[in-house]
Symmetry: C2
């Protein structure tokens, strides 16, 4: 499904002349000795030479020829095609099949009944210039995992439908109970919108793409430009992904034929109220029919109307009914066994299913993966560790193919998986990386080694330039003062989630973006014609992505010592703790100030008595919180990481100890899990990274703690601090064990 | 004409319990002894009792019954009506008549010739619910002091058409030479738009109101709501007001019958290229026809299109022709001679001419002035000083009535005018005051004495609440730490300009706003029906304005010691110097940083090579500048002001010395003039306050210095510093003379 905004920030210090300071001088690759570095670089040069943009174009043309959602005819054809390619290149190929719930629409209807009448077309218009858009195989616009429903009620406009929007509505005295809400796409995983609407008592949710966010206000619309056609609709799943990923009927276990299944009605992640996505052409008459207070300035989109909140007089009837069918999801798993350490797996994946033709999402990333797989297989000798390429099915409805596979192979993966590198839809411009903190220096070194196809500098330097021009004050300061841009933490929205957050496998998500114009996302218009005009014409960034992800895979596969870095992780964790401490201080001050202004009449005197907007609700003061256990744990972790670095710089290893060390290194990420999982969502076990419970895509670092504070559940803070500190202590213990493996000559 | 945004900030420290600290304890009025304060307060209570909202409504109904621009039939009727009212109340009434150039449209036509054809309607639609809008006497939409012209060229969109917009266009490689520009209203005095367009070689200017700034994106449009109707057009003058105000043919001298006149072609303030204002309904097809780069995000308005910059393929033909007639402007001057000091004049004015029916602009302010005049005249005994009420004509085309009168009576005014209090269109909500720094505590005390009609607290407290909720960080800090909000400096846009900036008469501009919704400004829809629904229903704020301005007039008229405050002025001047010093530092740092990013390739690497936007132009580094003379002058001024305060607190005066002191006090503002005036615009002589040469409405403090820096004319800085310091030294000398008048008993 690909979250286009979540992971823009990462490390470029490698690009900025810090190689030497960081202890890996000049051409020496992280994890390799000097001679081995040279050999590996030679291998990478031969690898690069095999990457051919014409391959990417041909594969995309084939894979995006027809719509290929899970269970579709072309989806099956693509699986066969992919399996054939991998086999032809010499991989051991297996199809992993799961029997998963995939609702498709049977009936969709939306009518405005009052004060005027209008029926939404719910159709996307074919474009003469783009033959793909004439297809009759595309699933019509809908939100998967909406329940069936037929509801009639007054309409309320809820902006993006996120928590702060409901707080604002409360200030206007507007209650959505018993109403249908209309929310615009953006700011959160779409599944959050019906969830919060239902939490507030609404009985239906309409989601539309406002042209301010995704349409003519951003740029010319398709086919003149890349942006969303007035009739375009963003499809997508609305399952409650922040609770668990994968098949909605088989949480935590693989959806094989014999799995025990929930009834649909009992699945905690199916939306509670009917949901339907519509175009801005269909949304305009609905919004125009609203009265009530004028929406706050930052709620207004770019439709040529005055936005009102309602409720009513607009009254709508929303009818949706689905085929609640189970379909077969088919992952293609292609393995190149390791020459030396076959039981350490380097995993690399991208999904193959799409909502439609899916040229951008996901084929643009998948063709880079194919280019990698082809070129990797051609290297001699083969990789030291096993490389596993995966093309996942059923990512779009809820990361289903990857999650079911991870759940099926959990024990083996826990033992063997070194790392998981994910891609998804990718574009043009700037390298975007997110991932586990331990991978930060490793990925930074790769970014410094790959050349940007447009400017000739490294892709790392291009990102650094972007940050210098456009970054936040904090990013610019870190770049200036420390040469560091942090690797963005991972939230959710693509197939790394089961690996990282359920199993504790170090992961990264890689892609290019920022210069490909968009508006085709999950719509009829995500076609080969659109992508090759506006996404990555010439596939130069597709090749660059194959260079980045291929290096990541190959270096991990061949490294003598796995290039995980504890100091970088410790430094990132410290920054998360600092951020949360700042968050608490700000929340405390803001609460005090706001309560003061409620009490002293400032709101009453400053607000227009003739308007509906009232003062906000008084909140309890924010208590002082004990973060000491966390600070102590971070201090111990930092010091253990430094000691490990010293030992590694000075020490030596025999083969047995190196094997032990590598096991400790890649399993260190497992120590960051807590088997009890996060509160209300035990499937998510990672204590550092999770998708926000109320945002869905966006990462929450130290989620148990951060969300307790954001939700003002201060009673939960002590327990969260204790658990996270305990997790960090486990990691510290692992690092200390790793340190002891290094044999340091006392004379040194 | 009224600038709705310029003067939102002022002092509320009186409201915040600082009375005692400031040395005027409890009920004691500034400038009055204890007993006199009581008498004055009793007088004000009797004054308040005579203010009747029904009067205001009746007068507005009459005055806004028909359009009444200068030279119109209803304009003449209004003059007679006003004169009759003043006479009836016992004033000595004179009409001051001037023979002034007032172009009116003969031909207006705007066509899109390519790539499609469209003819702009240029008409405002009548509204059934508002009979006034059916009038056939309204001047059609035009910009006064556009030259005649018939130009055909490609179109370029220039955003607001201010300097930074042209800098941005340069980065896109777009040159407006030989083109017609289309600019949106806002950000600057409208006359700046054709001026800058012509400076850049454009041959015509179209100005339109974008719905993002003034239309449906702000709120419901008329008649459902208050905001600009799609066909509504903002008329207005485009003379170069920042060069001089008043009749364009008689700069600096009164436009009497015998005055020497320039030829129109020689007037430096008539626009250089044809200009025409249009509605957003007419603008949309023109903007939609543009191609070229997509406009930057913050240039895009709220029309349902993708904004492009051009040039072309849109090609337009713009034809305008005017009747270049001279008409008679008639000010109504109503005098109530002072009982004690007839040669000290307290002046109070508001214009009476409008572009149309003018219910909001200017009648809403004028009816408050009438209420004051009626109630003032009913007080017994009459005022100690002379009170002069003025209803100005021909303000809309260029502050003409007031300026010609000021120019005619310059010598007498220089001798006699104590102060000028201006109002113009006024609304509902928050008291807005701008003016001379010496008036800050005086006006603050008044604001603390007048009760807000909606909330029952003082109007000062309401503003303080607004600032606490919505003010800038700096405003909030000053409010918290010092209890001070500064009186906003005056730029231009209403009739205080000739008094303050040409003659050096201490002035203030007063009004209410912030809660009256708008969109009728200078359009067909500025009617009685609109104002009484959306402006100030019930005229409660009209009465509050009469209470504020009436107190200002009456207290100045009766004060024993004129309540001018040098310490407040000195403190404000110090803040201007600090601001400019910060401006220089920021300019220096920004220039260095930007040049650095040009030189090191940051722009090249961060910008999309496939897009038109390039790096900015390199600027010369900002030199270090010598502000020492200014700091010394401010220090001397601050210390002289403190010494004056000490002497006044401890000393006594005999009658002769009090007379001398009052003369020194009110003439102190004259010392802030420099007879040579500002560079390129000698008519503007005030060294503290001027309208921005490139902004027009907005005030520039210490304009000679600030504009030299903003324009990067660093060679001009030393001279500006010297002149301003010299001016301040003159003021210091005056203050020292005033201090010496106080007889302080050595035993004290």
């Amino acid at each position: 499904m690909s979250n286009s905004s979540g992971w823009v920030v990462w490390v470029v210090w490698a690009a900025l002349g810090s190689f030497c300071d960081a202890g890996w001088a000049g051409d020496r690759l992280l994890g390799f000795g000097a001679a081995e570095s040279q050999a590996q670089r030679a291998l990478e040069a031969s690898y690069d030479a095999l990457l051919d943009p014409a391959d990417l174009e041909r594969w995309m043309r084939t894979l995006s020829e027809r719509p290929h959602h899970v269970g579709s005819a072309h989806g099956q054809a693509n699986v066969d095609y992919l399996a054939g390619l991998f086999e032809q290149w010499g991989y051991q190929v297996r199809l992993a099949r799961y029997d998963v719930l995939f609702p498709t629409p049977k009936r969709r209807r939306l009518r405005l009944l009052e004060p005027t009448s209008f029926e939404a077309s719910l159709d996307e218009m074919p474009i003469a210039e783009d033959q793909s858009t004439a297809s009759d195989e595309v699933l019509p616009p809908y939100n998967a995992f909406s329940p069936n429903g037929d509801v009639t009620a007054e309409l309320v406009f809820v902006n993006y439908g996120v928590q702060e929007d409901y707080e604002q509505l409360e200030r206007f005295g507007i209650d959505v109970a018993g109403k249908v809400v209309i929310a615009r796409y953006g700011r959160a995983w779409r599944g959050i919108k019906p969830k919060l609407a239902a939490d507030h008592g609404a009985i239906g949710t309409i989601i539309y793409s406002d042209p301010a966010d995704d349409g003519y206000a951003r740029g010319d619309v398709y086919p003149r430009g890349a942006f969303k056609h007035p009739s375009g609709v963003q499809r997508g799943s609305v399952m409650e992904l922040p609770v668990f990923a994968g098949d909605v009927l088989t949480p935590g276990v693989a959806a094989t034929g014999r799995a025990r299944r929930l009834d649909v009605a009992d699945s905690p992640v199916v939306a509670k109220i009917p949901v339907l996505p519509i175009s801005y052409a269909d949304a305009q008459p609905l919004l125009e029919a609203l009265a009530g207070p004028v929406a706050p300035a930052d709620w207004r989109g770019a439709l040529p109307i005055t936005y009102h909140l309602g409720p009513g007089p607009a009254k709508v009837r929303l009818e949706v009914e689905f085929n609640w069918d189970r379909v077969e999801a088919r992952n293609v798993i292609a393995t190149l066994p390791g020459r030396v350490i076959p039981d350490e797996w380097i995993m690399r994946g991208n999904h193959h299913d799409a909502w439609n033709h899916g040229a951008g999402d996901p084929i643009s990333g998948l063709v880079a993966l194919l280019a990698e797989a082809k070129a990797v297989a051609a290297q001699f000798p083969g990789p030291a560790r096993t490389i596993v390429y995966a093309a996942w099915d059923a990512e779009e409805p809820g990361l289903i193919g990857s999650t079911e596979w991870v759940e099926e192979h959990a024990r083996e993966l826990t033992r063997k998986a070194v790392v998981y590198f994910n891609t998804d839809g990718s574009g043009r411009g700037f390298l975007r990386m997110g991932g586990s903190g331990t991978l930060q220096p490793f990925l930074a070194q790769i970014a410094a080694d790959v050349v940007d196809p447009q400017t000739g500098v490294s892709v790392a330097e291009r990102v650094a330039a972007w940050v210098k021009l456009n970054g936040s004050v904090k990013q610019q300061a870190e770049l200036n003062e420390r040469g560091v841009l942090r690797l963005a933490p991972l939230g959710s929205g693509s197939d790394y989630t089961p690996f990282l957050q359920h199993l504790g496998i170090a992961s990264a998500n890689l892609g290019f973006g920022g210069e490909n114009a968009g508006g085709s996302y999950h719509s009829l218009y995500d076609t080969f014609a659109h992508y090759t005009r506006f996404g990555d014409p010439g596939f130069h960034y597709g090749v660059a992505l194959a260079q980045v992800a291929g290096r990541a895979t190959l270096r991990m596969a061949n490294a003598e010592i796995l290039p995980f870095d504890f100091s970088a992780l410790a430094d990132n964790i410290e920054s998360y703790v600092d951020e949360i401490a700042e968050l608490v201080e700000k929340l405390r001050e803001d609460t005090l100030e706001r309560n003061g202004m409620i009490d002293d009449g400032t709101f009453r005197l400053a607000l227009d008595p003739r308007e509906a907007l009232g003062a906000p609700r008084r909140e309890d003061p924010v208590p002082y919180l004990n973060f000491a256990p966390l600070h102590n744990a971070v201090a111990a972790l930092t010091s253990a990481s430094a000691a490990y670095g010293d030992a590694a710089a000075a020490g030596t290893l025999d083969d047995r100890r190196r094997t032990q060390l590598n096991q400790l290194l890649f399993k260190s990420e497992r120590t960051l899990l807590d088997e009890r999982g996060l509160r209300s969502r035990p499937w998510y076990r990672h204590q550092l990274y999770a998708p926000g419970y109320y945002t869905g895509y966006g990462a929450k670092t130290l989620p148990a703690l951060r969300e307790a504070i954001e939700q003002r559940e201060f009673d939960a803070v002590d327990e969260a601090v204790r658990r996270i500190a305990g997790t960090l202590d486990n990691l510290t213990g692992t690092i200390e064990s790793a340190t002891k493996l290094w044999q340091v000559d006392a004379g040194n």
